[in-house]
């Protein structure tokens, strides 16, 4: 029933999102006679809403997977090298002429970047298992690299900022095409791994003791998270804190069992991005700015209440 509440909120957010804009058209315009309003809703707002839903769900899901696999409640796509690698990939691709206009190519570049970023963390963390702390370092390098690209092409400052920040402006059906299959695959694989993640989330020795081979399963979980993150980043950019906080909200609602936690985290992620974009359109800032600022506030509150996330 608490998931039901989340679902109702999501529906409300979707309605709000599709009604926001310079013309007063809403969902009903799709069935109305005004061809202009129908165009606006169908060609501009509907894809933007769906991209936001799918990207948010991907980020929430990736965060929940990472927090179990890395066994740190502060793990999120942003600090595992996957998110910042994906941004670097997308930005690098967009400096190559013409690629920026092809969403599928951008998705591919982001996926490659995300996997390279995750692989870099794998190399750096080695067997130390200290993925969280080293992830911050790897992320810092990748963001630094992205910013250095700016030196080569200063005219990209606006675009790069939007990638690093996360923005839904101008998203079309073309952006949705590579995104939704990524979400479906990641969601199905992740839910299949839910029982494994319950065990992984406890401790390595515990996992070994009950008969779970840690390294291959953790790798499978991390690759799934990388896929989901890259899909989201290729479509909308980094969108800070969604991957960190959506799983926390989900955990508070349905508890720590991943069978329920993973889909709920995806719902919470979708809700955050759609609501942030609706709010951002009203205020006039990118969605990522809203999630970053509200997210930082929520983080401070949560961290204080739980003693630094235990």
């Amino acid at each position: 029933m608490r998931i039901g509440g989340l679902g109702v909120l999501l529906v409300v957010a979707c309605f709000a999102h599709i009604s926001v804009g310079s013309t007063g058209a809403g969902l009903l315009a799709l069935f109305g006679d005004d061809a202009g309003a129908r165009m606006v809703v169908w060609e501009l707002r509907a894809p933007r809403l769906l991209v936001g839903l799918c990207a948010g769900a991907c980020l929430g899901l990736a965060g929940a997977i990472l927090q179990a696999a890395v066994r740190n409640r502060l793990a999120s796509p942003e600090i595992t090298g996957v998110g910042s690698g994906a941004v670097l990939g997308a930005v690098a691709a967009s400096t190559v002429g013409g690629l920026a206009a092809q969403p599928a190519a951008m998705a591919g570049a982001a996926l490659v970047g995300g996997l390279v970023g995750g692989g870099l963390l794998w190399v750096v963390a080695g067997r130390s298992g200290d993925v969280a702390v080293r992830g911050v370092v790897v992320s810092a390098v990748l963001v630094g690299g992205t910013l250095l690209l700016l030196t080569a092409k200063p005219q990209l400052a606006g675009a790069v900022s939007r990638w690093l920040l996360g923005s839904l402006a101008g998203r079309t059906w073309e952006h949705l095409a590579p995104l939704w299959p990524v979400l479906v695959v990641a969601l199905v694989v992740a839910c299949g791994l839910a029982g494994v993640m319950d065990v992984l989330a406890v401790d390595d020795d515990h996992a070994h003791a009950v008969g779970l081979a840690v390294v291959p399963w953790r790798t499978a979980a991390l690759v799934t998270a990388a896929l989901a993150t890259a899909g989201a980043v290729a479509a909308v950019g980094a969108t800070a804190f969604v991957g960190l906080l959506a799983p926390h909200a989900a955990r508070a609602l349905v508890g720590p069992l991943h069978r329920r936690l993973l889909p709920t985290a995806a719902l919470a992620g979708a809700l955050s991005v759609v609501a942030a974009d609706a709010l951002g359109q009203v205020v006039g800032v990118p969605a990522g700015a809203v999630t970053a600022l509200l997210g930082a506030g929520v983080l401070v509150v949560v961290a204080r209440r739980t003693g630094g996330f235990g």
Partner: protein
């Protein structure tokens, strides 16, 4: 099918960097007995237990589990034959006792089998045998240390493996809970015919509860036998480097050991 020697180590050597922690250990654990590993800190007893549990691969030598070389068994097959209670494990906030104990069925049910929301008889039986069924639906992080230790024992029992390995099961518990846990393990050993290997710190408790003690010194087996035969003041000096008296009395058929350092 229970092998006569369900667990044994042959010439096990383990090296951490320059230091050889285990320098050729042979041990045979017979079916149905409780063996305790003794020794000072750093003598290699926990390392040996981790090798026996398959958590650590020896640099040389082999571990045989139910007659088969452990190196050739998959992780799940090992867990079906052997349950381990690690020294400590972090507690996942909000996870209930039942949800935690169910994880003991991973080896039997597999990754997809874990998705089902049902208890199998082994889980119910493990909750009952350890006396934790009354808190089965409370979150693990709300329980006391003694209660948690029983729950962790329930998890190991749910694996339904013939061999049980315990790494310092009484650390962090007060005396009453220490006795409770040891009594529980012994009752389970007798009822279910379990083979138990444990690392224990307390010499008197080891002598009181276990059938056989294996003392390690400098990475090799220094003494191996029934506690009544080998635990004396010489043992105390050789194994722990402590000079003192060891008094043993038998009342009602129970061996009681008192250690009095000089």
């Amino acid at each position: 099918m229970i092998a006569e020697v369900p667990l044994s180590a042959r010439g096990v050597r383990v090296r951490f960097g320059e230091r050889e922690v285990l320098a050729g250990v042979d041990i045979d654990v017979r079916s149905g007995e409780w063996v305790s590993l003794l020794g000072r800190n750093g003598s290699g007893k926990t390392t040996l237990l981790r090798v026996l549990a398959g958590l650590l691969r020896p640099d040389q030598g082999a571990v045989l589990l139910g007659g088969d070389p452990m190196a050739g068994l998959g992780r799940r097959e090992v867990a079906r034959r052997l349950a381990l209670l690690p020294q400590s494990a972090p507690v996942v906030a909000g996870l209930t006792v039942r949800q935690f104990v169910r994880q003991g069925r991973y080896a039997a049910r597999g990754p997809l089998g874990m998705l089902a929301d049902t208890d199998d008889p082994h889980v119910r039986e493990a909750l009952r045998a350890t006396g934790v069924d009354e808190w089965a639906d409370s979150p693990l992080d709300r329980l006391s240390g003694g209660q948690r230790q029983r729950v962790r024992l329930a998890l190991a029992l749910a694996q339904d493996a013939p061999v049980l390995l315990l790494d310092e099961p009484t650390t962090f518990l007060d005396l009453r809970h220490q006795v409770e846990v040891l009594e529980l393990v012994r009752a389970l050993q007798h009822e279910r015919g379990l083979t138990v290997v444990s690392v224990l710190h307390d010499l008197a408790q080891a002598a009181r509860y276990t059938d056989r003690v294996v003392a390690l010194r400098d990475g090799v087996v220094h003494a191996d036998g029934e506690p009544g035969d080998i635990v004396d003041s010489q043992f105390l000096r050789a194994v722990y480097g402590v000079s003192g008296e060891v008094l043993q009395i038998t009342t009602n058929g129970l061996l009681k050991t008192i250690v009095v350092p000089d």
